[in-house]
Amino acid sequence: MASVFEYAPAPESRSVVDIAPSYGLFIDGEFTEAADGKVFKSISPSTEEVLSEVAQAGAEDVDRAVKAARKAFEKWSALPGSERAKYLFRIARIIQERSRELAVLETLDNGKPIKETRDTDLPLVAAHFFYYAGWADKLDHAGFGANPRPLGVAGQVIPWNFPLLMLAWKIAPALATGNTVVLKPAETTPLSALFFADICRQAGLPKGVVNILPGYGDAGAALVAHEDVNKVAFTGSTAVGKEIARTIAGTRKKLTLELGGKGANIVFDDAPIDQAVEGIVTGIFFNQGQVCCAGSRLLVQESIQDELLESLKRRLSTLRLGDPLDKNTDIGAINSAEQLARITALTEQGEAEGAERWSPACELPSSGYWFAPTLFTNVTQAHTIARDEIFGPVLSVLSFRTPDEAVAKANNSQYGLSAGIWTEKGSRILAVANKLRAGVVWSNTFNKFDPTSPFGGYKESGFGREGGRHGLEAYLDV
């Protein structure tokens, strides 16, 4: 939208981060090549520029990493909790010191706006380590009995939407409780995890406690299936989550899964409307909608539907899409060509099924993977775009007449991760929150995260909680 007040480009300096032309696997405290010598390229989704060439882990490397983690486990788990705590505090501090560098790196590798990596991802990453550091010497008081024991080697597989934050959610509680880890970052976003490996070295973390294996699904599958892994933690798609659950059936491996969602954001007619509009925008356009807890279904009370949609469309017209390194960018790039294709296919299906599509006037850059913020109206529960997770900047708008109907529609999903409620009536918030089958309910706000706040799903959104005291349980033998 051409405006008389056109913001000049305000790019964050790329020079704060020094990306090496190639990276190895991080096993037993050393960067090493893959056993079969395979490598893959990590590219910047906003420009398709190759950022670096990264060693690609295979089954043999997984075995090597698990052995290293096993070897390190004995000493690490025997360390006094207060000593483990200090390592984690060190890591938290180094992350804070290097947060600008990591934010730029994450933006380059993931495609999300620097505004988000700078103001959301990195502060939460540091806070998560800081929070779990404090637990390491207090586990006796965590409500899991005296002297709760770690599980052993944790195999962790994380997604590309919040690469470093998901790493923090996995590694911080695992280490605090005395486990050692082998973590596989997503193949499209391996770089921040490799920088984290360097942070572990700076922090003097003993060798083998943290092992990082960039790679594809085959490496993840090998890690999950490895017989010397005691704990599997996965964040990603529901389909893969189910496959993992099958793989570990009949073993003693403990499993936690953070999977997909189709969050309902319910707006009642007495909502604080301007804040609700902001909440809807945050709910579905934060991180280009590539968020498992996104509020991807807007349930609006029919009596205010037109008014709300008008406000929403006006607001969407002010979203700034473009260079993720520009500090004024609201909407960055889609993470990969593959993800872009999935979003495109689902939105085309939405149109084919008769939903009405709208996007603000929005010029997309010529290279890279981009998708304009998109709104679908005339959507019903029967539409694919109301049921399937799109994982992109696409909002499906449905209406309801009564609170009962809102709750019924919100719960009518295989998922149960998040939900939103917007109303000025306190008793309605509590009543509706009580009925929603979702692990996180945001009332009069959306997409808020905190290390003290347990996060996780009902139903096919997975099980187990990350964050807070609850998050310890996943890594303790209880």
Binding site: K242, R246, A249, L257, V440, W442, S443, D450, R465, H470
Partner: protein, 302 residues
């Protein structure tokens, strides 16, 4: 005594608060335990138990789902009262259960009485938990921002419980009570060879103010009944206590189809006071956020 012919009980399933025969019309013979091997058919005939089919299982899921809303929505105090009522009712029928347990498990009357007493006490233990578990595993979270943030446990939903094969009554109660104490509803597959105490428990539950469908009791071949239940898309969780390793693995694989919460079989001494693990295994944590803000409009600065 001997000059009078006993009236024998027809054992029936307990589904949705009613006592149906198996939809299949089939029964199987239940005998006294004879040896450690406990081979069925070698002991004295006790009764014909219903051989529940996959359709009975399906009906039980419907009943349990229907009961879930009201039961999970009942106050914790109310659930506690009802669980305590179960203990009261059992106390009054202790003799019957002592006999059934003795016959089922090949125990002396006195050893069986120990089991039954412990089972009654277990109901009392869980009756007291209903309104405390939320305070133990939930609570406020001190988030770094102007938000009220509260985590509370909520029941997972419809839970299939494969009761332990050996401990026909104490084991059964020990796995059923924690599931329903927190507001879940249960479909219980009894011990295959010793289903009678479980089927009799259904009669007690029916007279304890427990709403129909909260507990549904199915007897028969564990594997036959459990297989469709493990795959059922409207079941939220499964306790595999009564499955052997081979069956447990198969069921766990089937359970992955809709990501049921799975409690794997593990060695348990049911004589011990339980912990809270059998409750937390079937609880979800819901975390609710709400802005707090300041009283006035003066909080903002730049």
């Amino acid at each position: 005594m001997s000059d009078r012919l006993n009236v024998l009980k027809t054992y029936k399933l307990y589904v949705g608060g009613k006592f149906p025969r198996s939809e299949s019309g089939r029964v199987y013979e239940v005998t006294t335990a004879t040896s450690a091997a406990g081979a069925a058919g070698k002991g004295k005939w006790l009764a014909n138990a219903p051989l529940a089919s996959r359709k009975d299982a399906r009906d039980a899921v419907v009943a349990a789902r229907k009961a879930f809303g009201p039961w999970s929505g009942a106050t914790a105090y109310n659930r506690g009262q009802i669980l305590y009522r179960v203990a009261e009712m059992l106390e009054g029928r202790k003799e019957q259960f002592v006999r059934e347990v003795a016959e089922a498990e090949g125990l002396s009357k006195s050893k069986a009485a120990v089991q039954v007493d412990a089972a009654i006490d277990r109901w009392v233990w869980y009756a007291g938990w209903t309104d405390k578990i939320a305070q133990v595993v939930g609570g406020g979270n001190p988030v770094a921002g102007p938000f009220f943030n509260l985590s509370t446990p909520e029941p997972t939903g419809v839970v299939v419980v494969l009761a332990p094969q050996e401990s026909s009554f104490l084991g059964l109660v020990s796995v059923v009570a924690p599931v329903i104490a927190t507001g879940n509803t249960a479909i219980v597959v009894t011990s295959e060879k010793s289903p009678l105490p479980a089927l009799s428990l259904g009669e007690v539950l029916a007279t304890s103010d427990l709403p129909g469908g909260v507990v549904n009791v199915l007897s028969g071949r564990t594997a036959e009944i459990a297989t469709p239940l493990a795959a059922h898309q409207d079941v939220n969780a499964i306790d595999l206590a009564g499955a052997d390793d081979v069956l447990a693995k198969e069921l766990e694989i089937a359970a992955a189809d809709n990501l049921k919460r799975v409690l794997r079989p593990q060695p348990v001494d049911y004589a011990e006071t339980p912990g809270i693990e059998r409750m937390t295994a079937f609880l979800e944590t819901k975390t609710v956020w709400h802005p707090t803000g300041s009283l006035g409009a003066s909080g903002s600065s730049y």
